[in-house]
Symmetry: C2
Subunit: 282 residues, 2 copies
Amino acid sequence: MSLLPSLSLLPAALRLRKGDVTRAAILEAALHIARRDGLEGLTIGALADQLRMSKSGVFAHFGSRQDLQLAVLGEYARLFLADVLAPAVREPRGLPRLRALLENWLRVLGRELEEGCLMIAGASEYDDRAGSLHDAMVHIVTGWKNELLRAIEQARDEGHLASDLDAEQLVFEIYGLMLVAHHDARLLRSRDSLKRARAGLARLLDSFGTAAGKKSLQVARPPAAPKAQAQPRPGRAKGAAGARPLLLKKGRSPGRPKTDPPTSAKRVHLRPEGSRTRASGD
Amino acid sequence: MSLLPSLSLLPAALRLRKGDVTRAAILEAALHIARRDGLEGLTIGALADQLRMSKSGVFAHFGSRQDLQLAVLGEYARLFLADVLAPAVREPRGLPRLRALLENWLRVLGRELEEGCLMIAGASEYDDRAGSLHDAMVHIVTGWKNELLRAIEQARDEGHLASDLDAEQLVFEIYGLMLVAHHDARLLRSRDSLKRARAGLARLLDSFGTAAGKKSLQVARPPAAPKAQAQPRPGRAKGAAGARPLLLKKGRSPGRPKTDPPTSAKRVHLRPEGSRTRASGD
């Protein structure tokens, strides 16, 4: 990290915090390695090489490889929540917030498809190993599921989703769509997996949506329609009679262009056409 | 394998096939190790130890570790198709066959939750490695998706599923439910993940089902109801007005009883209550 050598130029007062800065730099580099090689591929040696530090220098900040791995997991979770949860909380409680949350999640997942999601890959790495890393994985996934559950229950309580909705079942099915999007994009090099996940999420929310839920989304709609084209949902849910389906927007696909033949697969958004605040950042 | 020593007692004519038998025994033991430790955890050394053979004896049948891994993958696929696809083909074409196929898949998945599914774990192992094993994984998963696609398209062509159904989207969502069932049961030790997957599958099929589809399932229904109890689906799909939902049967849970508190989580079946032919074998 180019940050490290320049620290010696700083006045003493500022250098008091050098330890914190170094730790953050180590953590950032470690997260980068773990995203690429998996948590099990993260070694102190490789990390020290990359940072041009000694191994003992790394150990001075993280007592052991496992402590480092745990810190990386924690950092991943912190960044994930900052990217996915924090902006969604600014949306109105209920369906608008839930949809923002899912849209943000898809955006982060889309960024991660190239290297793989640390948590999804980690689930396979640690699902049959006892220990602190397994426990930390479970803690993070369970915590995230609880955030989803809360957003769904709020949408139900606001009358935006059906009152007899099984919120845990909905969390389960949402998770399934994210997992298969990751699976197909990573293993099969599928270019339309994010689009299909969005279509599945839209159908799910639609099938449980109420008239008040549709209205809650339309409130945020500006008078002028944007240039993005609306398209009918694939995999339509029968029923939800009379309710207008969530529209999907086309956009650029973040998938890896690999073995699949070129298609017109586009990114689509959960937000209704012309929604005021679009998920940004990719 | 106790089979091996006894071979020397056989007459010469029968011993002509000793090579085949030995190869099959090696493959069976290798599959067992790969299920437990992953394909990357499968080594010639461990395999030879387990079989009380020399390494060179194993190499005589499989030229390299990679050849052995490829043979294990092929054997897994063969057994999977024999357990999942073959019995389903005996069901009437359309929704009955599709449901049998999904039920059989869930049953196999349920058996695999303890050690993990070789293909799902393998997707994480090989999704970012080029080579023969990656290609074999892709071949198997793609082939299986095509079988699902065909069963869905047949159900659509029979008029059992909606004519405007996006069959590939349905395959995608079905896969998601299987992946999350595996993920939650393995990482979170969730005991109700198979039940939730069944509920999700029932809701999916239900949301695309037609009157003819319901009828196709009722034809197979015997006059007397069995002892299994019906229960309402969690996560009901709104709409599909007037159509009777697929009923779920309670049964024994095959999940691992670990950290979860004891619950009344039961296995449920996609087949309608009283269906004539129940998926057997677990």
